[in-house]
């Protein structure tokens, strides 16, 4: 007879239970209500198309210099102007889309795979293994993210590939922790207990029972992480540690434009804007997914 603070027995889901919904439909019902996240999702879809078609839709070459048109302001011919070598910035941004999405996706994919495995193992087996993995995560957490990446690049040397590795490594501990904590809570639930009692192997329990339940947290965090990864990779390129000129990587383009801030601010403005909007789209999508999939998860 406990009746909470307000006699509000509306959400007891009686009506909702009448229609049987699959988890996906349930997710879709909640997700499509979030208009901003939907727009972000469409925009990201659009970015992927741009990334795929890249050179076919770019009006000019991204690498060929054009010394007739150095640092010209945005115009009808050059929507975002040209850079110090007369290259069309709009075309370079289109080509850069591929790099940014590739770096973002691949690095987060590595973090997610490794972090998830570590988290599952750590949470499922517990004991000294758990202790060791979590200690190592603590140590990785003791370094501010980008510093760790810079340290790794200091070892491996600059370059886009090494940026992917660096960004991937510093994302591992967070995935490991998230997956570990959901593993811990799921491990004790009845259905895993019952699976164990009928003699399922540890591998089977982990991958057939625990992993699918952690999937929603992983998806949410994966999406949110892509924004951070793109941002970090762009920062590293800006610092001269990532993609090197003449690569049309957005951070590198921005870095190259710094010298002309007084005379040609458009050289820095447009690449920066591209980074901002792309990262924003992934963050908005991540927020939307979180609200639809995993409302308890905090920032």
């Amino acid at each position: 007879m406990k009746n909470g603070t307000v006699d509000l027995h509306i959400k007891d889901g009686r009506q909702e239970a009448e229609k049987v919904r699959t988890p996906f439909l349930e997710f879709w019902r909640k997700f499509k209500k979030q208009r901003i996240a939907m727009i972000a999702a469409f925009f990201i879809g659009f970015l992927f198309i741009v990334a795929l078609l890249g050179p076919f839709i770019a009006p000019y070459s991204a690498v060929e210099p054009d010394y007739e048109n150095i640092l010209s302001s945005p115009s009808m011919q050059h929507l975002a102007g040209t850079d110090a070598f007369g290259r069309d910035i709009f075309s370079r941004i289109i080509e850069g889309t591929r790099i940014s999405l590739f770096v973002g996706l691949s690095s987060v994919f590595f973090s997610a795979v490794l972090g998830t495995i570590l988290g599952l193992v750590s949470g499922y087996y517990g004991g000294w293994l758990d202790n060791m993995i979590m200690r190592i995560c603590d140590v990785l957490f003791a370094f501010p993210g980008i510093l760790l990446a810079i340290g790794i690049i200091a070892i491996l040397g600059p370059g886009l590939g090494n940026v992917v590795i660096a960004v991937a490594i510093f994302g591992i501990p967070t995935f490991a922790r998230i997956v570990r904590s959901s593993t811990l809570s799921i491990k004790e639930t009845l259905y895993v207990e019952s699976a164990r009692s009928v003699g399922a192997s540890a591998k089977r329990i982990i991958f057939k029972h625990i992993f699918p339940s952690t999937l929603s947290s992983i998806i949410v965090y994966f999406t949110m992480r892509i924004g951070t990864a793109i941002l970090t990779a762009a920062s590293l390129s800006f610092l001269g540690l990532g993609a090197q000129p003449p690569s049309p990587e957005w951070g590198a383009m921005l870095s190259a434009g710094r010298d002309f801030l007084n005379t040609a601010p458009h050289v820095t403005f447009f690449p920066g804007l591209s980074i901002f909007i792309t990262v924003l789209a992934f963050n908005l999508l991540g927020d939307g997914l979180r609200d639809a999939l995993d409302p308890k998860m905090k920032d």
């Binding site: 003791a142 200091a154 540690l241 951070g251 403005f269 920066g272 980074i275």
Partner: protein, 306 residues
């Protein structure tokens, strides 16, 4: 409270120990011969061997580690390969500019973050909330180097209000600290909002309202004081983000701080300096987390009175 602090203090020792091993191993993970690295590419074979002995690189790794640890504890961080000065001095020169930059950024971030977070939470689902939260997610998505450059372009180049870089006067602090603080302010705003919204649903908030308190008193005293407990913890973690972000922002504003020193050292492959900086950043980060833990204990009566 005293015991709590002591316990926390002892708790960081294992982490510090492992961090020091990591940083020690750092130099040994670099491909190539560290002695050759220090001696330089033109050094003769004999010179390289001399350097190896001098640095103790011919000793077993475990012994080398303890020698390294002993030196750190005495404040000996090695010699910069670029300037040939003690690394300790190099870092000491650069410490204060970075320190003040992060402090000011944090001040902005806390003031604006809290304000936006509280307004959004109390005006839930109204235009203030939507504006605040859209601003916050934008703040998280903003590349700090771009924000910095745009601020320079607007306020230094066009309007001439602030210097474009370096440290000249108090004015020099404004743009870099705003740039660095923006992202953290956004994170604080989001976190304050969600934390405060949880608290505003609590029974004791209803009790406060039933007492006849003004809504402002309920929000700013009763709710915020509770919401601050998780917010402080999270804010402390953001210090790490600030330390990392300072590397980028210092490059944008030609700031004579630790971040620029690090980037210069990486491009010069000045490993002793990189090593020392990583140690310092990690140490600062751990220390800040410790302070946050203690603050958390002080704010939370359930821990304070044990």
């Amino acid at each position: 409270m005293f015991h709590y602090t002591i316990k926390r203090l002892l708790g960081i020792i294992p982490t510090l120990f492992i961090v020091s091993i990591f940083i020690f191993m750092f130099v040994h993970m670099i491909p190539g011969d560290p002695a050759r690295l220090v001696a330089g590419p033109d050094a003769s074979y004999k010179d390289v061997e001399l350097v190896r002995q001098e640095l103790g690189l011919d000793q077993p790794k475990v012994k080398q580690y303890f020698v390294y640890l002993g030196k750190i504890l005495q404040g000996d961080l090695g010699t910069s390969m670029k300037t040939k000065r003690p690394v300790f001095d190099e870092i000491a020169d650069r410490f204060m500019p970075t320190f003040w930059l992060t402090i000011w950024s944090m001040v902005w971030a806390i003031v604006f973050g809290l304000l936006i977070g509280v307004i959004s939470a109390t005006k839930r689902n109204k235009w203030q909330d939507y504006t605040g939260m859209f601003g916050a997610v934008s703040g998280i998505s903003l590349p700090s180097f771009w924000l910095g450059l745009m601020l320079i372009q607007l306020f230094s180049v066009k309007l001439g209000w602030f210097p474009t870089g370096g440290i000249e006067s108090w004015k020099s602090y404004i743009l870099p600290s705003v740039t660095l603080g923006a992202g953290v302010a956004a994170v604080i705003a989001r976190f304050t909002r969600s934390s405060l919204m949880d608290i505003l649903r609590e029974d004791y908030i209803r009790t406060g309202r039933a007492k006849g308190l003004k809504e402002n008193v309920v929000v700013w005293n009763h709710a915020l004081k509770n919401a601050m407990i998780p917010v402080i913890t999270m804010t402390g973690l953001q210090f790490g983000f600030l330390l990392g972000g300072s590397i980028v922002v210092e490059t944008v504003f030609s700031w004579p701080g630790l971040g620029r020193l690090l980037i210069d050292s990486v491009s010069f492959r000045d490993y002793p300096v990189i090593q020392a900086e990583m140690l310092l950043f990690a140490l600062e980060f751990i220390l800040i987390n410790l302070i946050v833990d203690v603050l958390y204990g002080m704010m939370n009566p359930q821990i304070r009175y044990k």
